[in-house]
Point group: C2
Chain length 176, copies 2
């Protein structure tokens, strides 16, 4: 994994890919599938996300205030769905689905070796957690796998229907 400038993190999250979220509680790592996230600030990068209080990861995220957002490319689509179809209450997901945890630098939650990008995060604002399960995260460190060239992400449209990244178009934009 190669370090990525924090100023470039938004280019990973802004397109709306399905991501994996890892946590570690009492030495046990877990991973969930997540589609409800958005950028909040460019730099330092802030990312908001919703983790349902029905998800096993919720307690770990609230208690440790740390996580990793790992971004998988389309070749991991089946694993992404498998991870989302079960709970860390019942399953050791890293082992079961053949995902490889790598120690992170700034948080206890692991990176995922198979993902083309990994963002180490701490909770920056928890005011909307009780009402909306909405966490604002600060990205502390970002990693990309330079061997995965032009990774295509997937976007969930509900009930297992995913749209894969297609054609790229470039338009003259003043928008960062």
């Amino acid at each position: 994994m190669k370090e990525l400038a924090l100023a470039s993190v938004y280019q990973l999250i802004e397109p709306g890919p399905v991501v994996l979220l890892t946590t570690a509680l009492n030495g046990r790592a877990n991973v969930m599938t997540m589609s409800w996230h958005m950028m909040v600030e460019f730099e330092p990068p802030l990312v908001a996300c919703v983790v349902s209080d029905a998800d096993y990861s919720f307690a770990a995220l609230r208690k440790t205030r740390e996580c990793v957002i790992a971004i998988p490319a389309v070749h991991l689509a089946q694993k992404i769905v498998d991870v989302g179809n079960c709970s860390g209450r019942d399953v050791a997901k890293f082992e079961k689905f053949g995902l490889t945890p790598i120690p992170a630098k700034r948080v206890a939650a692991p990176l995922i070796a198979e993902c083309f990008a990994n963002l180490e995060c701490k909770v920056a604002d928890s005011r909307l957690v009780n009402m909306h399960n909405l966490f604002v995260l600060e990205v502390l460190k970002a990693w990309i796998d330079p061997t995965q060239k032009n990774p295509k992400t997937i976007h969930h449209h509900g009930y297992g229907r995913f749209v894969v990244d297609g054609e790229v178009i470039k338009l003259k934009s003043r928008m960062r």
Copy 2:
């Protein structure tokens, strides 16, 4: 425009498309381009979004507590960028870019006729506005244009690079 069940709104926002946001202040409609949004709750649908306090729309959204999220398909890509490249301070954007406002049912902000989906919204939670420019919106009414079949959306990767929806894959998922 045909009404869409509120329970289906998440299927529009969850994939992370670039959207347009309309507001109306003192009888004057405006529109901006927005990529920082996410679902927060299925039903009633809650959508969080970030509107920078540097954007002309910020004051209108904060004051009126109403807006419309309009979702454009790829054939509108050039207009999406044009809208984002200027400010409502200087330009009457609906007229300048040939976008057609349609009166909404529950809010003063207009729908956009050219978009395949329109969501009428009111601000539901403004606690993170001062710190993060983050609004939580409740979708009051949702509309789709049934004549636009299988619309492809675009996803911003920064500096005018957009990825268009590509291949659709279906996997057996328990995730709504």
